[in-house]
Symmetry: C2
Subunit: 639 residues, 2 copies
């Protein structure tokens, strides 16, 4: 078979592939990560590149106008027929920096101060070190090393039932003698069982550490936690390397369903990401891998399956059944995590296919399940997960919001990277002022910017309540081949090759997304027969939520019209909850109780959700009585 050499610029990285290989595959092999939401299906239009030299077969695909005009092709639809030189523009490239800015730094800002992290839960870390003095063996006191160790653990630390794995046992004889029968045992305690994770000779000079891992679909964050003080020593985050197999859980499940090899690819990608971050953390803090005694992960149900290599196939097929909702405790070594191989790896239980351990973690962090007043918990991403309840009951649902709040499916949609428009002001002359992440030249609009934009377009009368573009007197309002659109930023002021616009089709996508979330909230309320006013507190979790302007979100009917002071942002609830579990067995039991208590409402069963969704496809809603505070502002005609 003919081989082609593909040179990627400006990286100057070369890779040799068989003729017919797509540029996307070649890029992945060259270590260049291109954005892709659809996993190489040609539908998301993100992986645009420019063919500078050589012959390629360019297939059809859904390509955004800005890329088409720039002469780009979709890497996933373009096959090499000869040696190629390919230029990868910055905007189609996944960089750690972007992702970090988007979710991790934002999370950091909002993480509560250390002392508060456990709330009312007591400090009972999942691992601790115990110094022991063993009796030296003699000819007549000749019990085995292990028996001797267990006796000392029982007598000196009050631990009676304890598992000692082969890995520890193999090193025991040497360690006991090296320490002259004084040793430090690292004990992990969970699920009513204790296990010895490590035995060190003599007294130990280091505390035990834990890793709190947020296994997000987009990003993975690892926090290094000192289990003696409870402090987060350091944290790192990056995009999840599963990225190259698709941007959302569905494309990844489809990939994993192709066979064991593909499932392993996804598992390895997640493990590699965690290992890379962990390696950085350990190097930066001068720790060796043995220092990490326990790992706690939080992720959605699909991520939990993929991390453990459990087939997620049926998560996406009706009736949407995961293989497991509670996950077995595994050894780090067995899984391939590069910490102490004996360290147990735990994870939050899930509730259902689309309400996972990340949501359980969020509810734990919010404290909603411990309080008497009724709370609403919302995590908005590609899926909107919503939980309603209090300490006596919890009901949850998941609604597919689509990727718009993460910048997908929107002409100039982008993640919240520098240059992403996050605030929009439209004055009486339809002149626009935008505010971008980091104050950089605009590159597109991120989720929070889109919510703001939609509210302002409505307020300015540029669109009506149904999202239809109106005839307004400004050159910004124009018609293109793709329908009506509104120019937010002229090319001269933008970092793009053309004007940054929002189209009627973008508005419709946003309407569907916000309608789905709000319909989910209404469905839960209807199910438990409570009015909106019964909600005492609303917790907003996740990266997108953190920068959301609540007033805008209420004005477009995304969130309930309740007093601003009822809204609380809780940031990256996954890593925060995982850290709570690391530091408190009581909190972990709390999370398990949350999962047990939570009733999952499948929205696709029955008509309730579809009825609510249809009613919510207006701005803010067909039933304006639900949005009393919005009435006066919506639409220029209302001024």
């Amino acid at each position: 078979m003919k081989r082609c050499t593909i040179l990627f610029l400006p990286d100057k990285r070369e890779v040799e592939v068989a003729a017919g290989t797509t540029v996307l595959q070649a890029a992945a092999r060259a270590g260049i990560e291109l954005k892709t939401v659809c996993g190489g299906e040609g539908t998301c239009g993100q992986c645009a590149v420019s063919i500078v030299e050589g012959e390629a077969e360019v297939g059809q695909g859904n390509m955004p106008r800005k890329y088409r005009e720039a002469g780009y092709v979709l890497a996933c639809r373009t096959k090499a027929l000869s040696d190629l030189v390919v230029e990868v523009p910055d905007e189609t490239r996944v960089t750690e920096q972007q992702v970090l800015l988007e979710e991790i730094d934002r999370g950091e800002v909002l993480v509560e101060a250390e002392p508060d992290v456990l709330g009312e839960y007591s400090f009972q870390p999942l691992a601790r070190k115990v110094a022991l003095t063993l009796e030296e063996p003699t000819l007549t006191e000749n019990a085995s090393d292990l028996t001797r160790l267990l006796a000392a653990l029982n007598k000196q630390a009050g631990v009676a039932e304890v598992r000692v794995g082969l890995g520890v046992l193999r090193r025991l004889p040497e360690v006991l003698r090296e320490g002259n029968w004084r040793v430090t045992v690292t004990l992990a305690e969970h699920e009513e069982r204790a296990e010895v994770v490590a035995v060190e000779p003599g007294p130990s000079r280091t505390p035990p550490y834990g890793l709190a891992v947020d296994v997000g679909t987009t990003t993975i964050v690892v926090a290094l936690v000192n289990l003696e003080t409870g402090a987060t020593v350091d944290r790192r985050g990056s995009y999840n390397r599963q990225f190259r197999f698709g941007d959302d859980v569905i494309t990844r499940i489809i990939h994993a369903s192709q066979g064991p090899e593909e499932l392993r690819e996804l598992q390895s990608a997640a493990l590699e990401t965690i290992n890379a971050l962990t390696g950085e953390l350990l190097r930066a803090n001068r720790l060796d891998r043995e220092a990490v005694a326990v790992v706690f992960t939080a992720g959605n149900t699909t991520m939990a399956h993929l991390l453990l290599g459990i087939p997620p196939d049926f998560i996406r097929l009706e009736p949407y059944i995961p293989a497991a909702a509670r996950f077995p405790v595994v050894r780090a070594g067995e899984l391939g995590l590069e910490v102490n191989p004996e360290a147990p790896v735990l994870s939050f239980p899930a509730v259902a296919s689309y309400v996972g351990g990340d949501i359980v973690s969020g509810v734990l962090v919010s404290g909603a399940a411990e309080a008497e007043p009724v709370s609403l918990f919302i995590d908005i991403g590609t899926n909107g997960e919503i939980v309603l309840g209090n300490r006596d009951w919890l009901v949850a649902c998941a609604c597919s919001a689509g990727p718009c709040f993460e910048g997908g499916g929107i002409t100039f949609g982008t993640r919240a990277t520098p240059g992403a428009i996050q605030r929009v002001e439209i004055d009486e002359d339809y002149e626009v002022r935008v505010e971008t992440v980091g104050g950089a030249k605009p590159i597109g609009i991120c989720g929070s910017g889109l919510v703001d934009c939609l509210a302002k377009l409505l307020a300015a009368g540029i669109i009506d309540r149904a999202g239809r573009f109106q005839e307004v007197d400004t050159p910004r309002r124009r018609d293109s081949d793709d329908g009506p659109e509104f120019v937010l930023v002229w090319q001269e002021e933008a970092a793009t090759d053309g004007d940054i616009v929002i189209t009627e089709s973008d508005v419709k996508n946003l309407l569907r997304a916000k309608g789905a979330i709000y319909a989910g909230i209404r469905s839960l309320l209807k199910t438990v027969e409570l009015p909106e006013e019964a909600i005492e507190r609303i917790y907003i979790a996740g990266g997108f939520g953190n920068y959301l302007n609540i007033k805008d979100a209420v004005e477009i009917g995304l969130l309930p019209d309740l007093p601003r002071e009822k809204y609380v942002f809780i940031g990256n609830a996954s890593v925060k909850g995982a850290r709570m579990a690391l530091l408190s067995r009581e909190a972990l039991r709390g999370a398990e109780e949350v999962a047990r208590k939570m009733t999952y409402l499948e929205l696709s069963a029955g008509n309730m959700f579809m009825e609510e969704f249809t009613s919510a496809m207006f701005l803010p809603h067909t039933d304006l009585s639900l949005f009393p505070s919005v009435r006066g502002t919506a639409g220029r005609e209302g001024r």
Copy 2:
């Protein structure tokens, strides 16, 4: 570095090695197993080969006369300096056939009939299959596959707490749907915990199987047990491939102590042996490896360490402390056993460094620990392990008998292979009649033959009570460079290159060996302050014991002078005990109780053993009152 090609004849196997490599190492790499007791130290004189061509550096070593005279060199002391052609004589080669004959077939003969195997223990196999019908999931009944399985197990099989490992979980979604929500679960139950070993779609057509594995220092025997009927379906045995690292536990420990790589070599050798036997069993019985749901092993403490890859280093160093006496349950897949990777691998607990799970198994099989009368349990090999007690108390010791009862350290010693002398008659004219294993031409003397020979030499007045050779009038009694000797078989009648003799030095070795065993028995009796007459039953375990002539053994003072009817042979107690444990959780608990109850007496502590040993270095003993039945027969002068 110079490379040399070594050609082994008559195998015609070639191997390339670095110059300076020993012929023993080269043989191992060529897959040719040479006998070696010392593990390549040049002391056992077993690995004799003939250099046919080429230049070699031949080092000093302890070489038996018969080999020296034949022009052989020790493979372990001979280093290749050029390409070599090496002839390997049959007698220095380990063959499966030999070992099989020696221990396995003998064990087979003596295994009790099926129905009796469990004695009073109830039939509660370690694994069973349970057919389950799960409720089919719907949009509103959307619990996970695992939750659904566990609910059915609880409801339909009454199993509440059960572990499901990742391996099973990974296959669960597909199996549940393939079986249309009817499945068969293989459950392993042990240590009060249940675990799912396999889930099959639909009803199962095969019973669950277990492997009972005797991990002997010399031989490994694997029995395939049907856990539904309790029948031993088939069994296979072969020499333990650790053989090449030395014949006894001490040489293997020394090898393992050199480092992790050497320890792994020993572990792999044992695993390879078990896997080869298991593969044969599965093929012969048309089963796939998934059919085996549980593995139970019995072996001495060193073998248990090596099988699990636990460093045995301190077993041989005072105060002789093993790393563990109770061994963790591991997964077959984790260990590298080629059965269902989820199958738990269990083993009998040990009592001390030199009283291992094989002895616990033997005591279990004997029933000694369940009975009211006091019993003595003896397993004679390189070490003699002795247990005394009843259902209320047990005391055990181990005494180093040396390798003579296995044919080591004796000029014409051999294992009990065809041609081994097992019976000796000496008439009044000092003429000798011998009986060999399989009736073949004599090749040497095995353990039971040596006991017989010693008794007959004494009875004939050829040696005195101290083992000294007397002047008797026969050409068979002669003096060689190595001292006095007696010709048992003239060369013309033998399959050897010279006359088969027994030397004074051989007799001294035998005296020390039998003295050690008897002194061990006396030490136990003294410790519990009981007379020999208190012993109601004596159980003789192991391959050597099975062919032992009790009358001879008593006459030389190896075994107590008690009525013949008190002696019981119990054959290969390891594989028998392992099978009992597979078939009865109650029996397994019984074995654990045996280990807990057993007090280990370290003979090297204090003077008691040495005093007893010194007194026992006569035939039968310095204190003839201990051997009332022997008095009349010992020595020709007593005729």
